[in-house]
Symmetry: C2
Subunit: 407 residues, 2 copies
């Protein structure tokens, strides 16, 4: 298959590109390298060294003989170039991963929030429009977020996609309708992902596009079978307050002799998946042939749910570290039921996803150990706060964090 | 009350500003005059002559002694200036009307679609953020669109806001949740409005903002009690294929001796409201004191629903004109049940809204008669087409409509 991977230089995109290339697909990466510019602006660098995209691609070719093409295009702002690439490369499938993916980043300032909203929504809009205009048979696989549902206490299993609901109207007429459960995103990033779902529905329903939306959990792990082949192919390892995810941070803290910092009670439940399974699931979704129903095919891309506390306990025990509860910088529900359906990937044969108990922590420890000298302890403490009690301003905020935004 | 009206130079915004000023409120219009620039770019001008915003405001002051302030700010792209204005003017309420409001405009090209999406979503985002950052007690009244629901055949009454639904999960557990019926917008414009609803929910739920969202029907009529006072205060009258609404177009056609053109069967049902009632409803919403529930207060701002055909019949009979069914440029459901709850405005005492039978057509006929010499027949025929059967391209579309976008 000919596949365009947008965001193919990023944390999920790079290993996905290699994995799909290795599986025999013809890959074109489309990326504006925004993750690299944001890292520079924030001065929060990946623990692992990230080689330039040209070096990465050259090394992949040297090691495997496989070619990956690359186009530097800002998918959100440059529709013409995107359409040029789609019409000339003629992909069978577009894996759309191009997005600003950090919730804390989206809550830093007006600029970072609006950048996240417009960048993510317009990138998806342009990709959908390019498919609609050029060839409606191109399959679209979008990487969404399981965080769109929010974290209310829910006693039922959240379905994958639409389900039937019964209501009673003002005239006591009973009716049935099909829809997803209401989203309740708790950051502008997650809001942008929920807005993309309405774009996907729009193009699916009005133009019959073939769309799979993967609602992914928090990704842990760093390397995949392919990125391990050479240091030049290494994937990102983010552990800072903005882009770092919870497990990375815990392991860095444990390895550096700092107590593991749990935000609030730690009874927040989250869904997780290992990066190796991310690339396998995306491959499975790319290959899956689902009868087009006019509905987006929503799949929960997760291996398990766990409380943050249980993740901390797991790391603390394995690495003999202390745990410290700190004031939660996010105003969020710290105790709630959270049950997610995950039948669809099972039905496609993905029954062997890795869980935290599977010794894969060794790999993270190795990564951290190898790069101990690069650890910047100052970047771990949470400085971005959000929610009702976050400070308001009575005067114009010239001092609000200003970012020279990419894109 | 001190009230900021964003989009206060537009078709709904200008008469709203005058009406609220006349009612004794202190009005600040914030507008980037984008509707005027788009009219120039499209070469589709209002049938009535529109005076400059400064002349409008000066004439209002001359006639009534009342002052209206004006700031030229692009609310979607200039958050700093918006926040400056909010912190210095210290409004009690913001009536947020600033948006690109034409569905056909949003479907013209990639540029016009993305402009509509980003302009409308970011304008709402900035207004919400300014309230959240400066003073969470500022009431927000947003003018939404009843079109967000789409036009599926629905046998039940669509509720105003959230309602209770019952579902059964994968483990046969029965559960109840509260939400709105799923939106099914059929244009990028309506999609942008549905995306604004998720922004409103986000700020309402996470920061407790006091938000009323008015889901408005198609507006007819031109003048209100205040805009009638002088030609310099005249409101817009759009009848072109992009911004013109169905009733205006019908009257212009009938008056010019052209057959009234009905898109398709004409059994499409739509909701309507007269511009005089728009400004009264907005005033009522501004004054209403609803206990904050954490939910956005959704109100259907409509006076009646009718099929397009029945509107055409009404005009044809009154004006002795012919009707011609033309190929529908929009792929849409041309026959469907469409029942909208509208209890909330009734409960607030608005039981005397005008319907099409109320002789108000005279006013439109007068407007059209007075400006017969300005009618541009070429602008009526629909040229923007959308839906599954709209032409696709096999090569990059350099010829796609290019617009020098405002803002």
């Amino acid at each position: 298959m000919k596949i365009i991977v947008t965001g193919g230089d990023g944390f999920c995109g790079w290993p996905t590109s290699l994995h799909l290339s290795n599986a025999g697909h013809d890959i074109l990466i489309v990326d504006n390298l925004s993750r690299r510019s944001i890292a520079k602006t924030l001065s929060y660098e990946s623990l692992t060294e990230i080689h330039s995209i040209s070096k990465r691609i050259a090394k992949w070719h040297e090691l495997t003989g496989l070619k990956i093409a690359f186009k530097n295009i800002d998918v959100a702002s440059d529709y013409e170039s995107l359409l040029d690439v789609v019409t000339s490369f003629k992909p069978d499938c577009i894996v759309h991963l191009a997005a600003q993916r950090s919730a804390p980043y989206s809550m830093m300032s007006a600029q970072s929030g609006n950048y996240t909203l417009s960048n993510n929504v317009l990138a998806a809009s342009n990709v959908l429009r390019a498919i609609e205009r050029h060839n409606r048979d191109i399959k679209l696989v979008h990487l969404g977020s399981i965080g769109v549902y929010g974290y209310e206490d829910r006693a039922f299993e959240i379905p994958e996609g639409k389900t039937a609901f019964t209501g009673i109207d003002h005239n006591n007429e009973c009716y049935t309708l099909h829809g997803q459960i209401p989203f309740n995103p708790t950051s502008i990033y997650h809001l942008s992902k929920s807005q993309i779902t309405s774009l996907l529905n729009f193009y699916s329903q009005n133009y019959g596009l073939d769309i799979t939306d993967l609602y992914q959990g928090i990704v842990w792990g760093t390397q995949t079978a392919e990125t391990k082949l050479s240091a030049a192919l290494s994937n990102r390892f983010d552990y800072d307050e903005i882009y770092g995810t919870v497990l990375n941070r815990f392991v860095v803290q444990a390895q550096s002799g700092i107590p593991i910092s749990v935000y609030g009670k730690g009874e927040q439940t989250r869904a997780f998946i290992h990066i190796q399974d991310t690339v396998r699931c995306i491959e499975t979704a790319v290959n899956a042939r689902v009868a087009r129903s006019g509905d987006v095919d929503v799949m929960h891309q997760i291996s398990e749910t766990r409380t943050v506390k249980s993740v901390a306990d797991h790391v603390a025990k394995l690495m003999n570290a202390d745990i410290k509860h700190i004031v939660n910088p996010r105003e969020e529900n710290e105790e709630h039921r959270y049950i997610l359906a995950s039948q669809k990937f099972s039905q496609l044969g993905m029954n062997d996803l890795n869980t935290l108990g599977d010794n894969l922590l060794d790999e993270i420890q190795n990564v951290v150990n190898k790069h101990l000298y690069r650890i910047d302890r100052a970047c771990i403490e949470p400085k971005v706060k959000w929610g009702k009690s976050a400070k308001q301003v009575s005067e114009p905020v010239k001092s609000e964090v200003e970012l020279s935004l990419v894109g």
